[in-house]
């Protein structure tokens, strides 16, 4: 078996048993990056030297008989919006070029405490605003299944790296589907945890009330392993929730008999790709055959989700991104004539078109005279969307939907039409607005051999059940074992 094909759980076990070394695994990943990343473009920075020396240290610890930690010696890639002391963090934006983080995100600290090795940072849509990873200042990331197509976004780099076997796992962030949609388009597993499950400290904010960091991997077990490590209350993030620790991994493998899987009628609308529809139908049948009950549910306010999202997310973003002004760090326009000129040119030159579009939209919806009609109304709809899920979960334990209305689209196909691009997230956005957890797992392929993703949505803090169902489905299929040709 090729080392680059190992899952996190397999790799950790082999390293622990000294059947392989962390060094060999990291070396294999680095070789793979060297071989394919010029084509895939998943990484914006590879930490070759440090990763190798950390791998060496991990091997030594194990040789000395030290108790091996859960991720001892396992390489992980991280999205370019997570802070690591001494490393650049840019959100793939020109405006943050040159900024070196002076502190480390909580999730990174936790990964390292578990023994993981950072192998590099990955490309993304600028400030996580996009569904195709086409707005990065570093250029495109391509879908490993078809390099003429996008990997999805915004965590396109993190997802493509895992799909292309450049790293066994990665971290992404998900504000409206930025983990789940690319995971679907690249045929890997990706989870957006319940809002408040994972600390956001050190995640460069896009929309604070929606952002969550989540794991991307090639098996549901790996997702559970990673979530257990990065999750849990953090005193540095007031919105992270204090709860007793959960043993997610050990609850995997249970039967899903008597579990009710809800299918919301609003998610199976006309105009949906028939191949996607068919794959989801087949997945539901599979779960039914394992004893689960399929029930019809309704999420009646679904049609307002995209509009609501683009009011709330842009409002928060317009404020969160105000700090990139050329005063303290990052890009500053050269030779400003005065303060206003510095602000205006720094932002005009530093931000890309999509980010500017969203800042303007967000500024508008918060403006005096428009606040009630847009922002306030959107908050009210958000409450209704949350209630939709609460009501639906009275009838079922997990909700199943497509993760994306289509498989991967072509590079450049939607760039000129922001609305079409925004609709790529039509099935993922409600989940962020409601704050519930959801995972995308591979559930088939189109006739063009493009992956299709099944989205499973759980109750608020229902990660345990959610992962159990996802794992049960995965165990009955081998979609997740298929490899892209890149």
């Amino acid at each position: 078996m090729d080392l680059i094909d190992l899952t996190v759980s397999e790799a950790a076990q082999l390293i622990r048993k000294r059947e392989t070394s962390s060094h060999d695994l990291v070396r294999a990943c680095l070789d793979r990056i060297r071989a394919v990343d010029a084509t895939v473009g998943a990484f914006v920075d590879v930490y070759e030297k440090d990763a190798l020396s950390e791998a060496h240290a991990a091997d030594n610890r194990i040789a000395e008989g030290g108790a091996a930690r859960a991720l001892e010696g396992v390489p992980v890639a991280v999205k370019d919006n997570l802070c690591v002391t001494g490393r650049p963090v840019t959100c793939s934006s020109k405006i943050l070029k040159g900024f070196i983080a002076p502190y480390t995100a909580t999730v990174i600290e936790r990964l390292r405490e578990a023994g993981a090795i950072l192998i590099g940072r990955t490309n993304m849509d600028e400030f996580a605003m996009g569904s195709s990873t086409e707005t990065s200042c570093y250029g495109l990331t391509r879908n490993p299944w078809d390099t003429g197509r996008v990997p999805g976004g915004s965590s396109g780099g993190s997802v493509a790296a895992v799909a292309a076997r450049e790293a066994p796992a990665s971290l992404g962030s998900d504000t409206g589907g930025s983990i789940r949609q690319p995971a679907a388009l690249c045929g890997v597993a990706g989870l957006k945890p319940t809002y408040g499950y994972v600390s956001r400290y050190g995640l460069v904010a896009f929309a604070s009330s929606l952002d969550q960091i989540g794991p991307i991997a090639r098996s549901v077990r790996d997702i559970a392993v990673l979530l257990e490590i990065i999750g849990g209350h953090d005193p540095r993030d007031s919105t992270s929730v204090k709860r007793p620790a959960e043993n997610l991994v050990s609850s995997l493998g249970g039967k899903i008999e008597n579990l009710r899987i809800g299918v919301p009628k609003e998610y199976f609308v006309e105009g949906m790709d028939p191949e996607v529809k068919e794959a989801i139908r087949a997945a539901l049948e599979k779960m039914q055959s394992a004893g689960a009950t399929i029930v019809d549910v309704s999420l009646p306010h679904t049609e307002y989700a995209v509009a609501t999202y683009y009011v709330i997310a842009t409002a928060e973003a317009s404020s969160n991104l105000a700090r990139y002004d050329g005063v303290q760090y990052g890009y500053r326009a050269p030779h400003p004539t005065d303060l206003l000129d510095m602000y205006q040119r720094t932002k005009s030159e530093g931000f890309g078109a999509e980010v500017k579009r969203r800042i303007m939209l967000g500024t508008y919806v918060l403006s005096s005279g428009y606040y009630d009609a847009y922002y306030l109304k959107a908050q009210k709809v958000r409450t209704l969307l949350k209630k939709d899920f609460e009501d639906a979960f009275k009838l079922c334990d997990v909700i199943a939907t497509p993760a994306s209305p289509t498989a991967a689209f072509k590079v450049g196909e939607k760039v000129a039409d922001p609305l079409q691009m925004y609709l790529s997230d039509i099935f993922t956005i409600s989940v962020n607005l409601a704050g519930v957890p959801a995972i995308s797992v591979p559930c088939g392929f189109t006739s063009n051999t493009l992956p299709i993703g099944l989205q499973l949505i759980g109750r608020h803090f229902g990660e345990g059940t959610l992962l159990k169902v996802a794992h049960a489905y995965e165990s009955m299929t081998d979609w997740h074992k298929k490899q892209p040709k890149v």
């Binding site: 963090v89 400290y201 317009s318 403006s367």
Partner: protein, 483 residues
């Protein structure tokens, strides 16, 4: 022209005296080297998140309870968005529509009369940094972020203040109240208290408010008073000349003693307030309120009234004693320990405050305990030491913190009341000062004072002055009758 009256409302910002900043663990110390009390959170670095300082919250609630506000069981923080280089996130975390404390009032004393000024709201927010401009034109300006994130309490009064002098009294009263609570230093020079004023004029008796002007940039209570006086005069004059008052913000310029327009209503910022998503709403439960209510000190004016009634002290004494909570506490501790109130008041107001001022010290560092005060007062009143020695003993006690009895004993400072010893000293002085003796005998009664002084000098102030006086009189008169 009808008679016009002024209507004034004040917006006061005070820095809370917490050890650390409102949303991070950085120290709030004043005067540190630029950008040394900073961290990713108060610098607003990408990815950093605020966490509310519990002490700042408690201080705010305490203030609200003291002012009789309603403490909101549910309040939240909001972002106030505007661009300025001293604001690293380009938004200030503040409170908009659900402040922590709503309503209330402050009782003030003005020209001997008491008045209650309504409080509109009290809310918590973060302070901004400071711009440091280069001395030389054309060189870069800098930003010092040390002050960024220091907790600020904004206290907004109702437009119920009717003159610049009353505004001054309000500020004095508010400062004293906050100092009593121990929540702020309220030192305008250090910037721990700042005040903006809203002022309008209207025909006396009119119910509707006139067009208000906001006045900023006053750096002392006196400046507030002066700026208001100028602004009221300006508005009255403008109306008399048939002009209309425009709603605007004006800056007070201390040098010219005038206000100048800063921005008009049309240029006012749209702050695009919205709820701060990085912080959870603040829930204040009843239990916390009760705990804080129980720890509330007596309000300064209430304490004044009580001290006058309880200890029969003159108004003047009480005003001095209540000018600081610590001083009033100290005075009452002395009385509780057994000191006679007026004697204790005299000693504290006199020697104690004089020495503290001389050494630029506060009561906190004072080595003299209330027990010492009781003891020294007893030593003087019993005649064990003279009043003059008392001052000496007090000064040494102030330096060393030793018990007064110990100082008297080890310094041999006890009063000399021994008849034979004083007789001997009196004879010596009479023999040496024939001129004064002659003066006295020739009718200049005052000359005896010099002779008494000589005896005191010879005993380094320890002689019982009354006895010396009597002895000398007797001796001088006896001698003259002999003649």
């Amino acid at each position: 022209m009808p008679d016009y009256e002024a209507v004034i409302g004040l917006e006061v910002h005070v820095q809370l005296k917490t050890r650390s900043k409102i949303f991070c663990g950085c120290p709030t110390t004043f005067g540190a080297e630029p950008n040394t009390s900073v961290c990713p959170v108060c610098l607003g670095l990408p990815g950093s998140l605020p966490v509310l300082n519990e002490t700042a919250l408690r201080y705010s609630i305490l203030t609200g309870i003291m002012l009789g506000s309603t403490i909101s069981s549910f309040s939240k923080f909001d972002r106030k968005n505007y661009f300025y280089p001293d604001l690293p996130k380009n938004y200030q975390i503040s409170q908009y529509d659900l402040p922590l404390c709503v309503g209330g009032e402050l009782e003030i004393e003005f020209e001997g009369k008491r008045k209650r000024i309504g409080i509109t709201r009290v809310h918590l927010e973060e302070d901004a940094g400071k711009l440091v401009h280069a001395e030389v034109e054309g060189e870069d300006s800098g930003v010092d972020f040390n002050r960024t994130g220091v907790p600020l309490l904004e206290i907004v009064s109702e437009p119920e203040i009717s003159s610049p002098e009353e505004a001054f009294a309000y500020l004095k009263g508010l400062k004293l109240t906050l100092q009593y609570l121990g929540v702020s230093d309220c030192d305008m020079e250090k910037g721990s208290l700042r005040c903006d004023a809203n002022v309008s004029v209207r025909p006396r008796g009119e119910k509707l408010l006139g067009v208000k002007v906001e006045v900023k940039n006053m750096n002392s209570f006196r400046a507030v008073q002066k700026a208001l006086a100028y602004e009221i005069e300006r508005q009255n004059r403008a109306i008399a000349e048939g002009q209309r008052i425009v709603q605007e913000t004006r800056l007070w310029e201390a040098e010219s003693e005038m206000t100048h327009p800063m921005r008009s209503k049309e240029e006012a910022h749209d702050y695009r307030y919205f709820p701060e998503p990085d912080l959870v709403p603040v829930m204040v439960d009843h239990a916390l309120q009760e705990v804080l209510r129980a720890s509330l000190p007596e309000a300064p004016l209430k304490r004044r009234d009580r001290l006058v009634a309880q200890y029969a002290l003159p108004e003047y004494d009480v005003e001095v004693l209540t000018s600081e909570r610590e001083l009033a506490d100290y005075f009452e501790a002395c009385v509780t320990a057994g000191a006679e109130p007026k004697a204790a008041s005299n000693l504290i107001m006199g020697e104690m405050l004089r020495l503290l001022k001389e050494r630029a010290l506060t009561l906190e560092g004072c080595k003299i305990t209330p027990k010492h005060i009781v003891e020294i007062l007893a030593l003087v009143s019993s005649g064990a030491i003279t009043g003059t020695t008392g001052k000496e003993v007090f000064a040494e006690m102030f330096e060393t913190g030793k018990r007064p009895g110990e100082i008297v004993h080890s310094g041999g400072l006890a009063q000399i009341s021994d008849q034979a010893e004083l007789d001997r000293l009196a004879d010596e002085v009479i023999a040496k000062n024939t001129k004064s003796v002659e003066d006295y005998r020739s009718g200049k009664a005052k000359a005896i004072g010099f002779l008494v002084g000589q005896v005191m000098k010879a005993t380094k102030g320890k002689a019982n002055p009354q006895m010396v006086n009597e002895i000398l009189k007797k001796k001088l008169e006896k001698d003259s009758s002999k003649r």
